[in-house]
Symmetry: C2
Subunit: 174 residues, 2 copies
Amino acid sequence: MANPNEHLKNFHRKVPEGDERERLVCRDCGFIAYENPRIIAGAVVEHEGKILLCRRAIYPQKGKWTIPAGFMEIGETPAEGAAREAYEEATAQIEIRDLLAIYSVTHISQVHMMFRARLKSPEFSPGIESLEVALFDWDEIPRDDLAFPSVHWVLNHYREAEGKSGFAPFTNPT
Amino acid sequence: MANPNEHLKNFHRKVPEGDERERLVCRDCGFIAYENPRIIAGAVVEHEGKILLCRRAIYPQKGKWTIPAGFMEIGETPAEGAAREAYEEATAQIEIRDLLAIYSVTHISQVHMMFRARLKSPEFSPGIESLEVALFDWDEIPRDDLAFPSVHWVLNHYREAEGKSGFAPFTNPT
């Protein structure tokens, strides 16, 4: 298997002039590869009381179920990112309702911004990153086969927020 | 003046294998410099009814007033980032209360997460990025000399949220 850090072979860690932290700096050209936390934008998408889940076709957690979510791209808002991911992973057109939760996953430097959303129409199919896409009744969610802790958290918080609006977003469970 | 993009001289834009978007790729070593939105973490810090502001010692907007805020670093939560920035810019120890607002500034790919906070003790002084730090009564805030639109927004939203708790964070004004 190829070394996943092969592309970093020219980089070393040093404190750039005027900075206070070590950064990844290219030995050849001086490029500074700043590492900042990245935003994962996602949505709990509901249709007639059921929740849309995608079974992952990619690593990590290939074969496990998740809500549509992924790295926010430049030029979009978090809500737009969540809607784009729902389209990419499930060819689903969604209407964002509100912000449900913000989770910090510090060991991998991610901030997850999770929205509540509805399907605009009951049409969906697996995108390139999904093996399968389906609507689940609450009691039929495959809890033993969810991809990430934050999927558990957000589904529980979705349930807790039912019937509420205008609330402070949920955060990491303690 | 040096070319600010000198460090990118070895990079060109191409769609990496398996990707769908153009990325900045180093011609020499293949390093992909992913550009994702970055989080600005900041806080409206109150002490005995006054608001803590810093006058910027750095560009952009050198000489203008702002709340303590800056790029979130890896390994921290947004709230920890806001507290660190208050310490770096104003040597202020703060207690984070709650999340006040989330702004998307898409043209510069930033997401601003702004908290409400209190000074733990009335001690502060200019950090290396500040010319001056001071507490302002609401009516004395230098409105014509604020550094960024989001500083206006967050101060107005702070005022609007007074006496409230458990609310959905404010977003960009329309």
